[in-house]
Structures are given as C-alpha cells and as structure tokens.
Amino acid sequence: MTICQNFLDNLSRLSKFRLHTGNVNAYTELKLRRFENSAEELSACLDLQLQSTPLTSEFKDDTTLLLCDNAHIDDYERAEIKITMKVFLSSWEASQIEAAISSLKEQLKTKDIEVLILSFPELDVVEGESEEKEIQRWFEKVKPLYESASKLVESSQIGSIGVADFTAAQLSKIIETFDTKPSINHVRLDGCCQVPPELQSLANDHDVQLLVHNDPNPFPTNKIFHTFCELRGQTPPICPLFETTWAARYSVWVRRRSIMASKGYIVQFIRKT
C-alpha cells in the first residue's frame, strides 16, 4: 500500500474534513507554469501533492489537513503582511463563511484577516422572471450572508468585505442597504481591459476598488476533485464517499514590498448522504 493510499484510507473514515494545500509557490513545477485560471492551479497543485507524501498526521472530523509546509510565513511580522481570502460558496449558507474564516485563522495562526471576498453561488434561473424580480430574489439570498460577514467586520475578525463579479445593479443594492459597504468588487477582465462605465462610476463614487482576478465563476470545486480522481486511475475510496462544499483561496501579500509570501487553497469535504 502506498503512503498516499494510506492517507486516503485514513480520510475515508471521516465524515468531513478540509484539505489545505499550503503555499502553492513552494513547488517549482507550479512556479514555472502560468495557469489560465486559479482552478487549473488548484488542480495542478492537488495533482502534485497527492502523488507525494502529504504531510498531515491528524485525522479528525473537521480537521484541516495541511498538505505542505507553511512555516515560512513566520518570516514576516504580522503588521507587514496583508491576508486576503476569497471564499467560493457552494450554497447560500452563512455557516460556510464562518467555517472558511476559522479554518484560515487556525491554519495561518492569525487572529484576523484583512480582506474577505465573497463569491456567492449562482442563482438558479426562473423562467420568465423579470430583471427586477430576479435581483430581489437574489438579494433575499445574499442578505443574510452579507449580514453575517458584516458582523465579522464589527467584531474585527476581518478588516473589510469584498464581493465578486457583481454587476452595477447588484453592487448598488448592497451599497444602499448595508452600513458596512464592500470595499472591493473582484472583476474578471478576459482579454479586454474595459469595465462597464456605470460600474466604474459607481465604484468611484463609493470608494469601491475594482480589482482583477482570474478565478472561474462559478469555481468548479467538485469538478477539480473528480478530475483528479479520474486521473489517478485507481479510483480511491474518497470519490464516491465525499463531495466538496466551499473552497477558499487565500494570499498573504507582503504589503510594502509587493511580494507574495504565500498563496494557497482550502477545500471543505463532507460525506455524501
């Protein structure tokens, strides 16, 4: 039995767990490649890590299993670094946000993080629905999650909230409703560098930074893992037993030198019912 097999066997005994890649830039192979998007990067990282010996030893429910060494972040003072986490929610549950935050805080041994960016799930389509009704329905779902995030700002666990791929209409709704305004709207620019002018002016008027990302929307978490299973060939016991829920991408940026200290992913798995 390979060590990886052993690792996977241990996993199969759990009802839920999290995988943490650790710093993806620790791998030469990953550093040399430029990825189309972050999902490809995560996929390549998992591929690499689960081929070799994952570092973890503890296998408890809701444990975050760290797949590679993270120690070097200690090279920096907390004040020097800026931690940003983007959570790709798989369902409209505030608990996913809380879980992601507590997981990251534990893994990076930090009390707080500077920026939390929320990538909300896709709204299911309702045939014949008007735009107005759609945005209202969307907002009903977003509201409790945004409120939950706002509380994290109030309790100083996070510095500010960001949203992802919001249209001007969506951004406007959030800004007019909540006291804690989003400071960031994460946008994807595929080739052209043009932001719709109404979004740009809304952002300018309300001090919302438009920052560029390369995450596919929606983030194909489940697909990444299944693809990995297929590639491994041996169909390890995990795949039929577990499915992914939320995923998170974090970066630790050394502020005043514009250097990335670390970049990693955390993925939550639960046993299928």
């Binding site: 040399l32 005043r256 514009s258």
Partner: protein, 630 residues
C-alpha cells in the same frame, strides 16, 4: 550622479601622492560602514529612476539642429526654486542635477516611488510633468529630448557656436569644444583632465561604420582640415573616429535604483540582475549614429566605456609593466567582473585583480571573501576627483574616499551601501545599462518592466546566474546593430532551484548543459519547449496580485510594448532612426547623415516626444496618455 562635493579639485599630478592614502582610508571607511549598517533593514521597497535629457536648438531657417549649451542657466533657476521649496517646507516634485554635457540635464523624482504596484499608474505622469518643468524654461526654438545627440563633433554642433582651432582644443580633441562640457560644476572638466593625464594620451574610440551601398570601401576619412596627422593618428579605416570623453559621457541613459530589505537581499538581487543587463541593453537600443554617421552599433555603451578609459598604456597591455601593477582588461566603465553574493561564487570565472594588502585589510576587517574581492577590485581604479579640503577624513563617520572610487567605477550594476547619516535609506541596487527612450510612455514601460522583474526574482527565487565571463560576452553582443533581433545571448535554461536545493545550498558548479544561446525574444517571451520567458513570470506574478483595473491596464500596455520590442514586432529606437535615415530622400546611402537629415529626424522625434504626433511604427498601437488624460 556621483560625487558632487565642493572644494578645490587636485590635478592628477597633485593627486598621485595621495592615492595610497585615499585607497587605504577608503577601504577602512567601507569596513566601518559595512559593519555599522549590515543589520539595517528597510521593510519598504522604494525605487526611483534617473533620466538624462539633451537640450537642442532648432535652426528652422537653415534646417540645422544644435545642442543648446544652456543647462547651467536652467539649473541655476531650478536650483533656486528647489531651495525655495525646501525653505517653505514644500516637497520638491523633481530634482535636477548637471551632467557631463553643457546641454545635458538629469532629472529624478523628488521622492522615490513606494512598494505598491499602484505607483505604475503615476510614473508616466510624473515623467511628463518633469519634462514640462524644463520646457517652461526653454526658448521657442529649443526642445528637451531624452536621447543622445547624433551629431556630436560635426562642424558647428553647439549653440552658442564654438570654434575649435589647433590652439584651442579640449584635451586634444579635433571635434569637441570645451564649451560643450558642463561649466557649472568643476567635477566634469576635472574628471576629464585627470583621466587624460593619468592615461597619458588622448582618449579616443573607433566605432565600426555601417557599410551601406555607397559607403567607400575602405572607408577612410580625411581629417586634414582638422589638424595634423598626429592629431588623428589613432583613427582606423572603416571606423568612425571619436576623440573626446564627451562622445560617450555626453550620451544619455536611464538608470533605476531599488531599495532592498537588507544587505543579503541587495547582494542576491545585484547578482540576479547582472545576467539580465545585456538583455535590457539590446532591448532599449537607441544610439545608432555617431558624429552624423551610421554605425554598426546601436548603443552608447562601448563608446561610453572608451570615453572614460583612464588606463595607461601599460595597463592596456601596450607596454611591458613597469610602473603599473596590472594589465587591466576593461575600462573603468564596463560590465562587472564578479558576483558578490556568497551563493554565487561558483560563477565567478574571471580572474580578479586587486591589491593584496587592501584585500587583506578587508578580510581582517571581517568582510567576507566575495564582498572583499568585489571591493578590492573596485579599488584598482585610482581616485580622479580629490578635493584638497576633503583629504583628511574621519573614517568612522566619513565615506567620501570610499565613495569617490565606488562612484567612478561605472558598471552595468552598482551595489550601494546606505548613507550612514540617513537611517531612512537602506541597502540599494542600481540597474544601469538601459538606454533612455524617446517618450515617457516608453521610459515608464522600461522602468515598470525592470521593477516588476525584481519583484518576480524575489517572489519566485529564480536563479539566472551564468558564468560572469558570459555576461561580459553578452554585453558585447548586445551593442551590435539590431542585436535584439540578430544576436543570441548566453542564458540560463534551468531558472528554478530543484526542491532539494531550494534556497538552501550554494549554487553548485555549473553544468554546461544548463546554458543555451537564446534570442531576446526567447528570453523575454519564452520558447515553444516550455522555457518560461521573463514575461511569463511577470504575468504569473500579476495574476495573483489583486491589482486595480486601471493599474493592470497600464501595466499591460507597458508589458506589451516590451514584449513586442523583444519579438521585433516593434523596432527599437535605434532601428527606427536607421529606417528614418535610410528612407530620407536626401540620404545617399553612404552612411553620412547630413545636417538636413539630422534636422528632419530630430524634428520628428520632437513631435513624437511631446505628443504632437503619434508614431505607430515606433510605439505600436499604444496611445500614450496625454497629461490631460492622466
């Protein structure tokens, strides 16, 4: 640039007696400052650029353009404005300093740029405002251009006019008048005088001439109207003969300085950037014309190198060693001869000359071997700027004896210790090979590329080291006409450490198979076989940087320009200038660039530079923003 101390400069004869003294004390000063400052850490990246400009005067009636030797006048005004700002507690947006040419002026940002990538949204605007700062002081027929004047040494190339007669020559030159040397600061004339006196003969360079269809073969110029045969005895056939420091030091360039986090990072970064210097030289080529003739080189590097060459005949290997200690391969203006980080020693394959006593002083002063060798090697050069009042120094606090030698070694990279008396400034590295570009858009683009490279080098801990002798060879190739398209450069293929050695072990002896000769296109844009070009790392770094849309959009334009210059899709300025000459109706295909052609060329360059005209051929499809857009 360099030491601008005030006082009574000594002649070379007067300096000789103090050379040993100054060197001994310079070394002691380095030992003291190194130990005092080795723990200094500055957590912020700061960087700044230095751009050199030429002031020209257009004579529209006669279709002639000349250099306008009014820099001192302009600097006086700028200096008083600067002082006024200082006394009022207002920050200075820009700082201006004199340079070698009486028509030259150097500008830097008033305070350095910070470590946030957002600064790239402002660099171009700052450069444009800097240019405007001079423009408001110019006369109607004058212009400021960030370029090297192509007609130094032709008849009547200065304004006001100057006459060169056999009785009135600048250090023996038959072309270059004294009036074209900066007069506001004695430093430059003094440097020239002492260089020539030390050397024992006139400075000269022979630049291979570009052989066009009507260029005489062999090309032999008739200098008889300039003087007697001994005045031009060093002229070679098929070459453009130049005979004054001004032909080199009067050229303009672009330099970028970075503050690193500590001395370790500074040493490592200095080494990593060294193999990249020839790439940037080729990529930025902007100087194809000398004394109004098309040459076979596209950069000022070799000419500048020869123009500062104070080596005696013995040191140049022309006479057996009697008075001198060494035969020295290179001029004091040239590429470096060693890496300075302990992890790079395996790549130091050039035998270094240095005075053993000075070296031992460094070693006994607890300076590690690679650093000791680097410093001792710098100190084979004699001080050329000694001020009588500054000879006596307190080595515990003064650093001028060290600085005078450090700053008169003009290399492709410079390692800069912090000033002892300013705790806000850390260990710095200066990147020096780049040719200055015509527009601020391009200058900002090249700065951006270089700064991003430093971030990528540090963030990804890549390893670009090749034997230093190959860097020397690459620097030679980089100067050749159209090197960016026609030359290949020694370059490291395996730029990542393997997992086992990641940042831990010393770089092992280099296996030949890890080095390949690559084109600039391959080095920058990568290869089909998966070799990641510099651009690939930069883009990967930017992918994770959560940049603002505006910043990314600006950076993308800059990177596109560099990428297309590397692939040859957009020509370098040198190439563009050659094309302009070739296509000019009055050009006779004899390598001679007449006054009229120079006039038309510079008029066009002026209108591109000030935004009147957009030249897609030179700048690609990018539209540099005007000041009103920014």
């Amino acid at each position: 640039m360099g030491l601008l101390a005030e006082g009574t400069p000594l002649s070379w004869e007067e300096t000789i007696q103090y050379i040993d003294y100054i060197k001994r004390h310079g070394i002691a000063q380095f030992v003291n400052l190194y130990h005092k400052l080795k723990f200094r850490e500055r957590s912020e990246l700061k960087w700044g650029d230095e751009v050199e400009y030429t002031i020209v005067k257009f004579d529209d009636e006669n279709k002639k353009v000349r250099v306008s030797c009014r820099a001192s006048q302009l600097l006086k005004k700028l200096k008083s404005e600067e002082e006024r700002n200082n006394s009022l507690g207002r920050p200075n947006k820009f700082l201006w300093t004199p340079e070698f040419g009486a028509y030259m002026i150097e500008g830097t940002p008033g305070s350095p740029y910070g470590g946030l990538l957002e600064c790239f949204s402002h660099v171009e605007e700052d450069m444009k405002l800097r240019r405007k700062d001079i423009q408001r002081l110019l006369r109607e027929d004058e212009s400021i251009l960030s370029m090297s004047f192509p007609s130094f040494g032709v008849r009547d190339f200065t304004s006001p006019p100057s006459k060169i007669t056999p009785e009135n020559r600048s250090f023996g030159s038959i072309f270059w008048p004294d009036e074209a040397i900066c007069s506001s600061h004695l430093r430059f004339k003094n440097l020239l005088k002492n260089s020539v006196d030390r050397r024992g003969s006139k400075i000269f360079m022979n630049v291979p001439i570009f052989k066009d269809s009507n260029t005489p073969d062999p090309y032999v110029e008739d200098f008889s109207k300039f003087g007697d045969s001994q005045d031009y005895q060093d002229a070679k056939p098929d070459h453009i003969y130049l005979d004054h420091m001004g032909f080199g030091m009067g050229c303009c360039c672009l330099q970028v300085t970075f503050q690193t986090v500590n001395v370790g990072e500074a040493r490592w970064l200095y080494d990593q950037l060294t193999p990249i210097t020839p790439v940037l030289l080729a990529l930025s080529a902007a100087t194809p014309i000398f004394r109004s003739k098309l040459s076979e080189v596209d950069t000022r590097w070799g000419i500048s190198s020869a123009s500062c060459d104070d080596r005696t005949e013995e040191e140049r290997g022309l006479k057996p060693l009697e008075n001198e200690d060494f035969v020295i391969e290179k001029s004091r203006y040239d590429s470096t001869n060693c890496y300075i980080d302990p992890s790079s020693v395996a790549y130091n394959d050039i035998p270094l000359q240095y005075d053993e006593n000075l070296y031992q002083t460094l070693i006994k002063g607890d300076i590690d071997e690679p650093m000791a060798k680097h410093i001792a090697h710098l100190f084979i050069r004699d001080p050329l700027q000694v001020y009588f009042e500054r000879i006596e120094q307190d080595d515990a606090i003064d650093t001028e004896h060290f600085e005078t030698i450090q700053s008169s070694n003009w290399m492709n990279m410079r390692f800069k210790p912090p000033p002892v008396d300013d705790p806000k400034i850390g260990w710095r590295v200066e990147f020096r090979p780049t040719e200055v570009q015509l527009t601020d858009f391009e200058n900002a683009a090249y700065c951006c590329f270089i700064v991003l490279l430093t971030r990528v080098l540090i963030a990804f801990r890549t390893n670009y080291l090749i034997p230093i002798s190959q860097v020397t060879e690459n620097m030679k190739r980089a100067q050749i006409r159209d090197a960016v398209r026609s030359q290949k450069f020694f370059f490291r293929k395996n730029v990542m450490e393997s997992e086992e050695t990641n940042g831990k072990a010393e770089s092992g002896p280099l296996n030949d198979a890890e080095i390949e000769e690559m084109t600039v296109d391959e080095i920058v844009n990568g290869k089909e076989d998966g070799f990641p070009g510099l651009m690939s790392f930069i883009r990967k770094y930017l992918d994770s940087a959560d940049l603002e849309v505006e910043t990314l959009s600006t950076i993308n334009q800059y990177l596109e320009l560099i990428s297309k210059r590397a692939s040859g899709e957009i020509p370098t300025l040198a190439h563009w200038m050659r094309d302009f000459v070739m296509d000019h109706p009055n050009y006779k295909h004899d390598s001679e660039v007449s006054d009229e052609i120079v006039y038309d060329l510079l008029k066009k360059m002026d209108s591109i530079s000030n935004g009147e005209e957009h030249c897609e051929k030179l700048l690609g499809p990018f539209h540099p923003k005007s000041l009103s857009d920014l």
